[in-house]
Amino acid sequence: MRDIAVVAFSQSICVADAGAVNEVELIMPQLQAVYDQLGLASAQDVDFVCSGSCDYLQGAAFAFVAGVDALGAVPPIRESHVEMDAAWALYESMLKIRMGHADSALIYGFSKSSPGELPIVLSQRLDPYYLAPLWLDIVSLAALQARMLLDRGLVSEREMAEVVVRSRRNAMANPQAQLAGEVSVEALLAEPAFVAPLRRTDCCPVSDGAAAMVIATVEQAQAWGKPYALITGIDHRIENHNPCLRDLTDSVSTRQAAEAAGVAGGAVDIAEIHAPFSHQEILLQRALGLGGDTVINPSGGVLAGNLMMASGLARVGEVFRRIVAGEARRGVAHATSGPCLQHNLVAVLEGV
């Protein structure tokens, strides 16, 4: 199988409300940024384009169609779209390169969640016959999961607060972060419950924005002459949808994906984990088999800024950035989708 490298990445500064800026205007600066990193003129300079977005966040059928406007008009391009986080657009693009139909691919994800109430919108992602009619929102579902972890003694509220403290602190060095700063565990624990046992600080913010990435064969990456990181393993697995039919205190699909991606095949210097709620970071760290030697979420993770439909791709991008900057030799990126971590993707990146 052909070796595939990440060669460029950019993401928006996470903001709670991008105002009058539309989706295309959110995407275009990120595309331009990755073109600039590689000296490309436009999307015509890559062989394949794939994006991830969700119609419902925009409140329109075919909302992603306008995204194509960000790519230029003629000639027509080889292009595809997943109604998923763009981490899965990365996966589809890698298949295209592996089969020899492309040597390079542009991937982007975007959303503008601010016009709607995201937790309520996503409640309509639940089983339409049994769960969606309850209007069970995703924060409440995550709270149920946290409650199970606490009740079984697998996680403590203090540990959850420590995750938030580290996220905010790491985010101080991340210019794209939405929430950053020095906070103390005690101050966090003194906060009132939001959806018990979750405090507001245990929940990710909702951010408007986009992220873009370029991947290529090693030959193409070398021809561009820019530093790159190899994707040495990638896999994703899904679990049963119904929260009553799986163990919410574990992430079996993450374990399966981590094994298939070869996470345990070497030391992991850094990991970017897509954990929208503090307790999920602890749970996922265990499922990924990561020990104390691994720096978790050096960017602050999605607790510091959460670009819906692009956060998973951004995790891969963050690991890439640190590897090419020489801060890490081998890293793990994780993306999640669905209520209570239903679907998980794991990628291993290595420097050359």
Partner: protein
């Protein structure tokens, strides 16, 4: 470099206006179970599941693949959701094929559906967006002016669309799965039906259907089942924006480029001669002559002549039958419609198309388009292993 892949199992539901007797999962399982039986495999033999459908608003369920994972046997496996507008059925087949052609998996399940009776597609397509052309009247209203421009340029007689409407319904009468069953339809009846979007009459438009279509795609060394495999000889996708200055809307370049790509992969130099039949996305009658030209089956301005001569009709013994299954004009569960085209092309080269079989078909094309005729997905399948 791509690994060889083939369709080894196909399953479809019967298409109809409303399937109130089954859930979405139940609808999908009808098609999936049939595809697995056709391939002689079980869920345990499937490595990954790739699902496609048109906008989530058509049923009112956000990213429904999450809820469908269990019913589709995807638990513990990779599952991917494709959405490329009306072309999604074709795109999903191609994305599924890439799971095998990349050498990553041995056998995958591809499935697409639409349960349009759950919601109202006309409404779902008409939510206004800032700074975008507002569509109050659904897809027909969008395409009618483009069709009128085709008629103006080509000088085609007024009844070409009527002829297509009758031809595809007679084809559909041979296919027990087709939604519209109109074995006695006449040109007069089509002409007398209500004008919806001039020049498109009621009977020149596709129905709105519930239904699902599934395929099992295997690597060459993992072929199963008792029927011959349909070898994937080429696959291509192209996209262009909905609007830009100077856009050729009658014969979009994305369609022409996509066809040229897939023909080159399959070694096709003369599509009308080299292909035995084709399943082409024709939701409105006039798109048959327009796509005949766009896809190179006829020269510019000449497509309508093939239609009028009966070249695309199985009943008239035409040399290049189009949409022997009845096509989109007979059944249109939107998210599945593209995959039905791809699957029906595969049925033809497997010699398994029942009463709408083209005698001795060896090479067939499947085609799908979506959005403002801006997203294209195509494949060519053959009986002969390349």
């Amino acid at each position: 470099m791509a690994e060889l892949a083939a369709v080894v199992g196909i399953g479809q539901t019967r298409y109809k206006t409303r399937r109130g007797d089954v859930s979405m999962a139940g609808l999908l399982r009808e098609a999936v179970d049939r595809a697995l039986v056709d391939a002689g495999v079980e869920f345990a033999d499937i490595d990954a599941v790739i699902i496609g459908k048109a906008p989530d608003m058509f049923e009112g369920v956000v990213m429904p693949e999450s809820y469908l994972a269990d019913a589709l046997g995807a638990v513990g496996k990779p599952m991917m959701r494709v959405h490329t507008a009306g072309s999604v059925g074709g795109s999903t087949a191609l994305v599924a094929a890439s799971h095998v052609q990349s050498g990553t998996f041995k056998r995958v399940l591809a499935v697409t559906y639409e349960k349009q009776s759950e919601s109202n597609a006309m409404w779902a397509l008409s939510t206004p967006q800032p700074f975008a052309v507002h569509l109050n009247a659904g897809a027909g209203g969008y395409f009618a002016p483009i069709i009128r421009e085709y008629i103006r340029r080509s000088g085609a007689p007024y009844n070409v669309g009527i002829k297509v409407a009758v031809k595809d319904r007679l084809h559909g009468a041979r296919n027990p799965l087709a939604h519209l069953q109109l074995p006695d339809i006449t040109e007069q009846e089509v002409e007398d039906s209500m004008m919806l979007w001039d020049p498109l009459r009621f009977l020149e438009a596709c129905p709105s259907s519930d239904g699902a279509c599934a395929m099992v795609i295997s690597a060459a060394d993992s072929v199963t089942g008792t029927k011959p495999p349909a070898w994937i000889r080429g696959g291509a996708m192209r996209s262009e924006p909905t609007m830009f200055a100077g856009r050729e809307e009658v014969s979009p370049r994305a369609g022409r480029d996509c066809a040229a790509d897939v023909y080159a992969q399959a070694g096709i130099t003369h599509p009308r001669k080299d292909l035995d039949c084709a399943e082409i996305y024709v939701p409105f009658s006039w798109y048959e002559p327009m796509w005949l030209e766009n896809l190179g089956f006829a020269g510019e301005g000449e497509g309508w002549k093939l239609t009028m001569e009966g070249a695309t009709s199985l009943d008239a013994g035409g040399d290049i039958p189009w949409n022997c299954s009845g096509g989109v004009l007979c059944s249109n569960p939107i998210g599945a419609s593209g995959m039905i085209r791809f699957a029906e092309a595969a049925r033809q080269v497997r010699g398994d198309a029942g009463n709408h079989q083209v005698e001795g078909a060896r090479l067939a094309m499947g085609h799908a388009y979506g959005g403002g005729a801006q997203f294209f997905a195509m494949w060519v399948v053959g009986a002969d292993k390349p």
